[in-house]
Structures are given as structure tokens and as C-alpha cells.
């Protein structure tokens, strides 16, 4: 296997980013059964918010000083957009038929893309600052500072979320709301507040993913949320939608599937034309279909048979 460790590492970096985005899909779905198709754009606005902060600081500021401020700016932007979307686009449709908020989400996705596109500056791609240092070598694996950033961010975020959901009062309110919103209200839980928090946490994770993407690829675009959002949604379904660990696992599986298929499918006799990078999305969805055929609830999803 040619360069297997390197390909596994690349899959891990990509998967960590998908996982960070997927958490937002899965949390919102878990609580209000809405597939927030505008979540990819939350990821995008996070990256743009960070870039805006960087531009304001000017090129003379050290990146190590700028990065924390960029994270704050990106997270703040994405969270604001997500909370406004929940308040004004989704909440009025809380009791509407399922199709209404879904269409709204798609509309919001297009709106946010066009809004960002409309800002002055280069339309196709904007240069994102790079982290200095690297490339680093670990055995035969080569990686950049940005790769370390995304892996550390994914691990820390997941640990934080696990602690938050399991051990804090708000986290337990969130679990209760996901299981049975009406009964949660009868316990005294303000379910509207819980829903806002779910959107906000998803946005924080997405913004960190957006910044990771900018750091890794050196540029960001107004439409970067479309494909990444779609893959992250796939990751959420693959892992079992509604399950936060499932979202991370689904992200890793998907990232590895894409990277490994791009690297090795071409060596399978007769498959040489299906192995390029262009086909990696196809293989990712093949994996999704196979998993869903045998485990319709996703890798870590639970069967819905709660009530005795």
C-alpha cells in the first residue's frame, strides 16, 4: 500500500473537519428534527468572520496573536447568524408542516451565500492567512500546522461537548428536550432556550471547522459551505443522526473513505478510471448507502423504541 500512513493521516484531518460541522447538523436534528441545510453557510460565515478580523488587524500583527482573535471573530459571526436564523427563520415555523422549515433552510442557505458573495473583494476565492511552522514529519507522514490545529480543535471540542451534555444542568435539559419536548417543559425546562443553545453550539463547532478549512487550504469562498455541508450532513447520517459521537465518528469514516478511495481504488484491476480525486465523493456516498442498508439508524444511532 503506497503511502498508507500519509493517506490515513490526510483522511483523519479531513474527517475531523467534517465531524466538527456534522455536530451542528446532528444537534439541531436531535432536538427539533430539522435538517438545517443552511448549516454549511454557518461554517462559511465562521471562516469569513475570522478573515474579517484578520483584515482589520493588518498584516503586521503576528499570526499567533491574530489567531485567537480570529477564532473569537469567526465564532461570534457564525453564532450570531445561527441564532438570528433560529429566531427569525425557524422559530415562527416550529409548528408548521416539516416541509416549510426545510424549504426555509434551503432558501436561507442561498441567501447567506449571496450575501457574502455581495461583499466587495475577490468573488471566487479570498486568501486566508497561513500558520507558520512545518511541514512536520512523523515517520513517513508529513503534515502542516493547520492539520494539528484541526485535530486538536476536534478533540477538545468533542471532550467539551461530552462533558457539557452529560454533566451540566443545561446539557441534561438538552437531552430531555431531545427525548420529549413537552415533558421537558413540564419539568420546568425552557425548551426555546435549549433550542437556541443547540444552534449556538453547532455554530461554534462549524466556525472552528471553517477556520480550519481556511488554514489548511489557504483560501475561502462564499460557496465553500455547500459541498462541505453536504458531506458533513452525510457524516451525521452515517454516524446516526441525533448522536454527537456519531457525528464525529461519521466524519472520520467519511474523511477516510474519501482519501483512501482517491488513493487506492485506481489500483483495483479494471477500476483505474474510478480512482481519481473526482470520484472520491461518489465512494463516500457508496459507503453511506452500504451502511444505511445494513444499519438504517447509522453507526451509533439508536432504534426509536423508547416508550413501553
Amino acid at each position: 500500500m503506497h503511502e498508507l500512513p500519509q493517506n490515513l493521516a490526510n483522511g483523519l484531518f479531513l474527517g475531523a473537519m467534517y465531524g466538527l460541522i456534522a455536530v451542528g447538523y446532528t444537534m439541531v436534528y436531535g432536538i427539533i428534527q430539522l435538517i438545517n441545510f443552511a448549516h454549511g453557510e454557518i461554517f462559511m460565515t465562521g471562516a469569513f468572520g475570522a478573515l474579517a478580523v484578520y483584515s482589520k488587524l493588518g498584516a503586521n500583527v503576528s499570526i499567533w496573536l491574530a489567531l485567537p482573535l480570529m477564532i473569537v471573530g469567526g465564532v461570534a459571526t457564525a453564532t450570531l447568524v445561527a441564532v438570528l436564523a433560529e429566531r427569525f427563520a425557524y422559530r415562527p415555523l416550529r409548528n408548521a408542516p416539516r416541509l416549510a422549515p426545510l424549504i426555509t433552510a434551503i432558501g436561507l442557505s442561498i441567501f447567506l451565500q449571496q450575501l457574502v458573495w455581495g461583499f466587495p473583494g475577490n468573488k471566487s476565492a479570498r486568501v486566508f492567512p497561513q500558520l507558520p511552522g512545518g511541514p512536520f514529519h512523523l515517520g513517513s507522514v508529513v503534515f502542516q500546522s493547520a492539520d494539528i490545529f484541526v485535530v486538536v480543535a476536534a478533540v477538545l471540542s468533542t471532550l467539551f461537548l461530552a462533558y457539557f451534555v452529560r454533566s451540566t444542568r443545561t446539557g441534561r435539559a438538552m437531552q430531555a428536550t431531545a427525548q420529549d419536548p413537552d415533558t421537558a417543559k413540564l419539568m420546568g425546562i425552557d425548551t426555546d432556550k435549549v433550542i437556541v443553545i443547540a444552534f449556538a453550539i453547532g455554530a461554534v463547532f462549524a466556525a472552528i471547522a471553517g477556520i480550519s478549512s481556511g488554514l489548511r487550504y489557504g483560501q475561502i469562498e462564499y460557496n465553500m459551505g455547500f459541498l462541505n455541508g453536504l458531506f458533513a450532513f452525510t457524516a451525521a447520517v452515517l454516524g446516526g443522526i441525533g448522536n454527537i459521537y456519531g457525528a464525529m465518528l461519521g466524519g472520520l469514516v467519511l474523511g477516510l473513505a474519501q482519501t483512501l478511495s482517491a488513493a487506492y481504488i485506481q489500483y483495483i484491476p479494471g477500476m483505474s478510471q474510478f480512482g481519481s480525486q473526482d470520484w472520491s465523493g461518489v465512494w463516500a456516498f457508496v459507503i453511506l448507502i452500504l451502511v444505511l442498508m445494513f444499519r438504517p439508524q447509522g453507526l451509533l444511532g439508536e432504534r426509536v423504541a423508547d416508550r413501553a
Binding site: A173, A176, Q179, A184, L186, M187, G188, T191
Partner: protein, 238 residues
Amino acid sequence: MTALLEVEDLRVAYGKIEAVKGISFSIEQGQIVTLIGTNGAGKSTTLRTISGLLKPAGGTVRFNGERIDGTAANKIVGMGLAHSPEGRRIFARMSIEENLQLGAFLRRDPAGIQADMDRAYTLFPILGERRKQAAGTLSGGEQQMLAMGRALMSQPKLLMLDEPSMGLSPIMMQKIMSTIVELRDQGMTILLVEQNAQAALSLADRGHVMEIGKISLSGTGADLLHDESVRKAYLGED
């Protein structure tokens, strides 16, 4: 003596269909009051409106002298009105302990919460034995105990129970009914919705018969138990 709960001309509608068509009743401190009636009479809708899950289309609800119609459900429970919903609705994927803790969600007194949890375990020892177990693994009767215990964790002044006997074995039903009396004897005020009219009326201080959204008959539990029309319609006699 002022009533703890006063419902006046309450109307509730699902879209254009009126499910509760102007009912009035009140509950005095320390009483067990029951609403009986067939499926679809509007009993659960009445409870869901009192606890704030549904908004009334008209009328007033006063609890402890304060108007609560239109107040959000999560605020009403903090005022001392607990609702154990139809079908028990326990949080199946959480442990028994976590379910009870959620019942005390608005309380900030860890020592008091612990004391009330111990009280729930004394009232229902099976819950104490299985406190770490997922609530979904309990039997129907045990889940009912958990639902009642959870409602009590908010330290309510009024406990509303919706069909606690539903789907239970006769022995388990006996246990639940005797617990309701035990709670009343300790000073709890209870609004009990039941399809099992015999059981409900025999322990209630007052009863109201609901028929298609209206109260058709009211009286003491004993009166209704011996009322001929009630016996015909709800106690299976002819």
C-alpha cells in the same frame, strides 16, 4: 376558604374543533378531585391546558389566586403545579435517578433534592433498587411510579395525574391508587384524571363527569359512585 385551583369557563380548541367547551370547577387544598369520562371527552386536554402545554381559547385558570392561563408550562411548574402526563412519558434513555433529578430541575437546594429523592425511594422502593438503570427498562407500573415520583420532585402544591392506571395490572393499579391516598393523607392536593371511574370515584373527595368537552355531572365521589346514570355509563351496569 379559597380554592387552590379555580377553572372558570375554560375553552380549548385544536384549530376549529373545540375540545373543551367551557368547563368550570375548583379544587380545595388537601382534596382529591377527579375528572372521569370516556376517551375524547377532553380530560387530558383540560390538564394540558392547566399545566400550560396548550393555550386556552377562552376562560381563566387561577392557581393559588394567580392567573396562569397563557403562562408558559416551564414557568407554571415553578409555581407549584406538577403534571404527570398521560402515557407516563418518562425519559426512557436516562436513568431513574436522572429522571428524578429532572423533576427537580428548577430547584437549587441539593440537600433538599437529595432528601426528596430518598423520599421517592421510600415511597417506591423498586425505584431505589434500580436507580442507575435506564428508565426504559422498567415495567409499565414501575414507569408510572417513576412518573409520579418525578412529578413530586418539584415539591408541588397541586399534583395532576393523567390516567395513572392506564395499562396496569389490577395489583399494580391498587398500589398506585393507595399511593394517591397516601399522598393526600400527607397533605397533597391531587387532580386525578381517570377512565377507571370506579377506582377514581372511590377515593376522590369530589368528581366531575366530562362528556364531549363539558362537565355533565358533579358531586362528591360517593354520590357519583352511587348515581344511576354514572353507574350505567361508566361502571358497566345496566
